[in-house]
Each structure stands twice: as structure tokens, then as C-alpha cells.
Amino acid sequence: MLAEYSFNPSSAHAAGKRARALIDESLSMLAGCLGTSPERIIVTSGGTEAINQALRGYITPRRFEPHLLVSEGEHKAVIAAAAHYTEQDAAISHIPLDREGRPDIDKVMLDADKPPTMISVIYLSNETGALTDLERIAVWRDTHCPHAVIHVDAVQAAGKIRLDFDRSGCDFLSVSGHKWGAPMGLGLLLHKQSERLRPLISGAGQQRGLRSGTENAPLLAAAAFALKRATSQLAAYEETAVSLKQSFLTRLRETKTMYTLISPASALAHIVTIAFPLMGETMARILSDEGYLVGRGAACSAGAGHKNRALKALGIPEETARQAVRISFGPDNTPEDVLGLADTIHAALDRYGMHT
């Protein structure tokens, strides 16, 4: 497929047209899976670029002063892009999290003189698995600041939860292909107001001038194919994740393994953030040697400073946060996998657990 479609889709020759046709077809497929239409999709180099394009490329209507409202549980990509926002003399304020780690939009103190012009929330927390109630955010916006746009960071959610962009109350939504099984290097920004976007990347005017650069037809096709497959398996995946999480925790209890479950009760089963009496980093390393790839729970290890607001909101002490690991159950995982994982964790604690 690479050989057949690696042509510039903007060319007039037959091979170029073939690539263009593949792009159009892939975009339609992607749009179908995401509940929107192809004109509302900008293809980017990844989730990070999509997020940056939305946050830094949004043109605030002139009668308002730019004011960004972000939740305290955001991914680094949003935090960093938001920091850029403040450099331009724009205001930035935060949505606190509730005890379940979700943005608690009703707790936001509204300043009537300076209403938010953009709200950015993470849909599915990469750290806790907490799920944001997007409808509540949209209702709040409609009531308090109807002119504000909503950006949703759905990078973690795509491929795990059904997304229905057009019918949602949000205006922008970022996703990343590798989260649903596509190769790295592809993200999408969904938008309802392209006229309010200033492109971050200029060039020959591809993608209606919103994102220049030659389009990658084979990559887009791969992403579309992968998303279609992931979407068709959503329900089964969810069911698998729930049962895997169940077996995993049951096994830990049976083997009397000490743990603190950090993911809140309402969290999606696909991601389990959990702490054991051993540094998360050390645990991740041991598990990796045994063939289990898990994430480090908190980015604040090694004294890097970055206080983890998402975990703090859940009432997790710093010590526990440093012991956190993040386990993601994929659609291909089996019950044997998670039992083996639980036993490996038990053995690791026996050998390396902190005795002090």
C-alpha cells in the first residue's frame, strides 16, 4: 500500500488522484467513527499538535479578552499550551477537581467582567481514568458564558469510549491515532468553527489552509482502518476491561498483596491507577523485565517538582502518589495476563518492597 499510495495527493497525475481518493475515503471513515463530517477534521502530526492548534490557534472574538479556563487534571500538552496562552497576556484560571478526580465546573468562581472565552477539559484522565461529564460542562457554558468555546482533550478516550462530536456541546476535540492502534504520528483536531482558527503551520495551503504540509495517505488509511475496528469492538472491550480489572483486584486481595487503589470508583475500567509499597518507577521497571509494560502513575518522581493535582484532588498523599503505577488493559489482554501480573507484583513486593 505504501508503494501504491505514496504520491502527493495534490498532484494532477493519476497516482496523485489515487492518493487523494484514499484520503477522502479515510477521512469519511474517521468522521463516521467520531460522529462528525470530513470537513470538520484537521489532520495533524499528533495529539499534541491538535491541542496546540486548538488552544493557541483559536482567535478570541474581539469584544472579549482571552480567558482560558482549564481543569486541574489536564495532560502536560494542555498545561504547556495553556502556559503559552498566558504569555500573551491572556488570563488563565482553573476548574477544581471533585473527590472522584473529575472537573467540578460548578465550583468555578465566575468574574462577570472577565468571563472565560475558552474552556479546555480532559475527557478521560490519563492519570486516574476519571471520566469528565461533558454535558455538564456544556450546560454550564450555555448558562454562564455562552460565547465561550469548549475544547476537549479526548486523546486518552478515543478507541475506548464512543465519541459523537457533532452532537456534543463542544467546539473542538483533539485525538491521537496511536491510542486506537494506528501508527504514531497522526492526530486529529475536530472543529465546529474553522473560521476562528489561525493555522499554526503555514505552507502550500493543504487542508483548506488550516494545516499545510503534504498529506500522508497511507497513514491516514491505517488510522481510519484501526479506528473502525476499535469502534466496532468498543462494547466488547469495555466488558473485557471490567472483568480484567475485577480479576486483577480479586487476585491481589486473595494473595494478600498490599495496595491502594487510586482510580476512583466512577473511573473507566480500562485504566487502573494503583499504588503498592514500592516506588512506582521501581515497580514499573521490575514488571517491564517480566514482560508487563505499565506506566508510572505520577510524573512527580525523582523530585521533578511537578505536583500532581489530579492525584491530590483524590486525597492521595504524595508518598502514595510516588508509588503509583498505571495499568492499562488492552482489548487483547486475557484473564491469565492479569493473574500473572498480580502474582508478579506480589513477588516483586516480597523481594524489593520497602521494609522500613
Partner: protein, 398 residues
């Protein structure tokens, strides 16, 4: 006296402290020459000549003076370096050579003050030093009228002319690292961690002519292999100055776990350091190192108070050199930036010193407290275990 016969440019290396040596001065000079050749080994055989208190290296075909200086500027024993231009002939050729040198220098379009210093070794040359300086100076003033002014006290540029068998011209002086040639002071075993201090301590001792070996205590899986990689990277930077260096990696996890479970929590750090010193000394003995080197600075952390240092020194008989003992952090960071280890040292990986810390370590431990803390450990067995679990590799700057 013939210094060179080809038209290749030269690099002049001045030596400092070595010239103060007495009858064994030649040993220092020979060593320095060896080290210079080693540092330039990627250029093939480089012609280097001793000339009183300096060395002249010929820039090999295919290389530039800058490349030679880049190689030599980290060789201990060298005080400064200059690229030298060579010319032959009579007074007119000398003037032409000075023109060439200044054409290059003045290419940037800037104005500067200058003076000319002449040294006439070949007394047969018809003009006297003062006259040569005046003539060349005059000529350059005319050539770059308006952009050159004479300042004999604090000029921006001093053009040095040496009249020997040939003409040698230079104006640029690049500082070297000073110190003594590595290899003149025996070998020392550096306790290397991933931090800022220990590489600087190694650098300081190497500057006194010491050859380095290094030992690192790895506590996988508590510390990741990325820390080991970082230690390697730091060691490799050090070898720019120290020449090649062997790195000995001790698998310290079992020892650490024993300490953890058998010693009082507030003494863990002290006992850990005592174990490291014991293993380091035994390894040092077998490697013919005569001292241990650490990056400790008095009072910097709990394990670096006077009392803590006394307890760690107690377990070894070798001298422990701590060149940073009186430094404050800023001074050490300054050197780390200068030698290029800082950026690597601050990579954010946890090392053993940050993973295994008790919340309230003893800051003023007595020897008795250290003895009591270790009473449940089989010291000799653990030292043996450490010595038997060492992997060694040679680090070399390429």
C-alpha cells in the same frame, strides 16, 4: 634552530607549573607530550616538538589549527594555546605574512587596537626587534586605515613575531586547563554517582596529574539503567580531561536490601556509605590505586557532616581525597558547567542517594552508633559479594 620544515601551520602550547620542576622536569614534559599525542590520535601521527617551556604541534594534512586546539585545550599541563603561521624569506616576506594574518583577523569588519611584539632569535636578521615591530605596525595601520589603532598597554590584539630559522606569527591565545599532566600522580578510585559533584571531584584530581578509575554502585531495579547510562556519559565527558578511564559497576542491590532490613532507619545512609567505601578501597587496592576520591562537600547533606565523614573514613586506610570539601554548591556547579558535565548531571533520574534516604537521617552519628547499626550485618561477606559482582568497562573519549 630549526623548528619545522614544512609549510603546515603550527599550534603552540605553553606549559606553566611544569617549568618550576627541577631535575625531573623532563618526566613531566615527556608525559605531557604523550598525553597530547593521545588526545590527537584520531589525526594520525602528529609531529610535536619540545622547545624550552613550550611545545609546537604541526597541524596535520586535512586538519585545521582549530581542530588541533580543540583537541589540546583539555590536556592538563597546558596553560595556553596559539595557532601559529609560518613563513620564509626576507623582511618583505615577513611583511606580507603579517598582512595575511591580519587580513584574516580583520575580515569581520570590526575596529580594534593592537601592538606588535617581536622576538629576534636569529641575530643575523638585518633589522632589530624594535624596528621590525615599528615597520610591521606602520604597514598594518596603513593597510587597515581607520580600523586599527595602536595601544601598547592594553591592546585588543598583540601580534607576536618570532624571527628564527623561519618567521613564526601568532596573535590568538586560547586558555588551557593548567594543572599537571595526567599520569604524574598515580591513580585514584573515584566514587562516581549520577550527580553534579563527583565528576567535578574527578576533574579536580585529574588536574593534579592523577589518573582516574571510577566505581559506581548500581541498585537495579530501584535505580534504572538510564542512571547507569548517565554515569557512563559523565565518565566519558571526564575522559576528555583524564584520558581513558575504567568504570567498575557494582551490583549493590542485595547489599542495599540487607542494610535496609537489618539497620536502624536513621543510620541507613551512613551504613550504606561505609559499605561503599569498603568495597571501593578493596577494589582500589587490586587496581593499584592509592587513594579514593569523593565529591563530598562539608555540611552539604546529612552524610557530609564532619561526624558522618569520620564514620565513613573509619572503615578505610587509604587516603580519601575530597577536593570539593570547601566548595559551596555554586562553585561546584560553575566547574561542572565549564567542563560540560552539568547538563548530564541534572537529568532527572533518581539515583541511589535519592531513593534510599530516611526521612530523618542522623546528622551527627558517633562511631559507636555506626558500629551498633552494623552489628547485624556480615560485613566481610557483603564486601566479598560486592567485589564478586562487578562489571568493568573502559570509557574513552572519541
Amino acid at each position: 634552530m630549526k623548528m619545522t620544515e614544512t609549510d603546515r601551520p603550527l599550534v603552540l602550547a605553553r606549559i606553566g607549573e611544569i617549568t618550576l620542576k627541577g631535575l625531573n622536569r623532563y618526566k613531566f614534559e615527556d608525559r605531557l607530550m604523550l598525553n597530547m599525542r593521545y588526545r590527537l590520535r584520531h589525526m594520525g601521527k602528529v609531529w610535536i616538538r619540545k622547545d624550552q617551556s613550550r611545545f609546537l604541534a604541526e597541524v596535520p594534512e586535512g586538519w585545521t589549527s582549530d581542530a588541533v586546539i580543540e583537541g589540546l585545550k583539555d590536556v592538563f599541563g597546558i596553560v595556553s594555546l596559539s595557532p601559529v603561521f609560518v613563513a620564509d624569506g626576507d623582511a618583505n616576506d615577513l611583511l606580507a605574512a603579517a598582512d595575511d594574518v591580519f587580513d584574516l583577523l580583520m575580515e569581520d569588519g570590526k575596529s580594534r587596537s593592537f601592538k606588535v611584539e617581536t622576538r629576534r632569535v636569529d641575530k643575523a636578521f638585518p633589522l632589530r626587534s624594535y624596528d621590525i615591530s615599528a615597520t610591521v605596525g606602520q604597514r598594518l595601520m596603513e593597510r587597515f586605515s581607520g580600523r586599527l589603532t595602536v595601544d601598547v598597554h592594553q591592546p585588543d590584539v598583540t601580534l607576536h613575531l618570532e624571527i628564527r630559522d623561519r618567521f613564526y606569527l601568532y596573535h590568538e591565545v586560547v586558555p588551557g586547563p593548567r594543572g599537571l599532566p595526567v599520569g604524574m600522580s598515580g591513580s585514584g578510585m573515584l566514587l562516581l554517582s549520577g550527580g553534579i559533584d563527583s565528576p567535578v571531584a574527578g576533574y579536580k584530581m585529574a588536574s593534579r596529574g592523577m589518573m582516574l578509575e571510577s566505581i559506581y554502585f548500581h541498585t537495579y531495579p530501584y535505580t534504572g539503567d538510564e542512571v547507569l547510562e548517565k554515569v557512563r556519559a559523565l565518565g566519558r565527558i571526564l575522559t576528555r580531561f583524564s584520558g581513558h578511564m575504567d568504570l567498575h559497576v557494582v551490583d549493590f542491590t542485595k547489599i542495599q536490601l540487607d542494610i535496609q532490613s537489618l539497620c536502624p532507619e536513621d543510620m541507613i545512609t551512613i551504613v550504606m556509605r561505609r559499605m561503599m567505601m569498603r568495597i571501593a578501597e578493596r577494589l582500589a587496592e587490586s587496581r593499584r590505586c592509592k587513594s579514593l576520591i569523593t565529591g563530598e562537600s562539608l555540611g552539604q547533606v546529612a552524610s557530609q557532616t564532619q561526624e558522618a565523614l569520620v564514620t565513613t573514613d573509619e572503615v578505610v586506610r587509604m587516603p580519601v581525597f575530597r577536593p570539593l570539601i570547601g566548595n559551596d554548591k555554586d562553585e561546584t556547579v560553575g566547574i561542572a558547567r565549564l567542563i560540560g558535565t552539568f547538563e548530564t548531571s541534572v537529568l532527572p533520574y533518581a539515583d541511589c542517594c535519592t531513593v534510599f534516604v530516611s526521612k530523618h537521617p542522623k546528622t551527627h552519628p558517633s562511631l559507636k552508633a555506626a558500629h551498633d547499626a552494623e552489628s547485624r550485618l556480615d560485613i566481610e561477606e557483603l564486601v566479598q559479594y560486592g567485589l564478586e559482582h562487578i562489571t568493568s568497562e573502559r570509557l574513552q573519549f572519541s
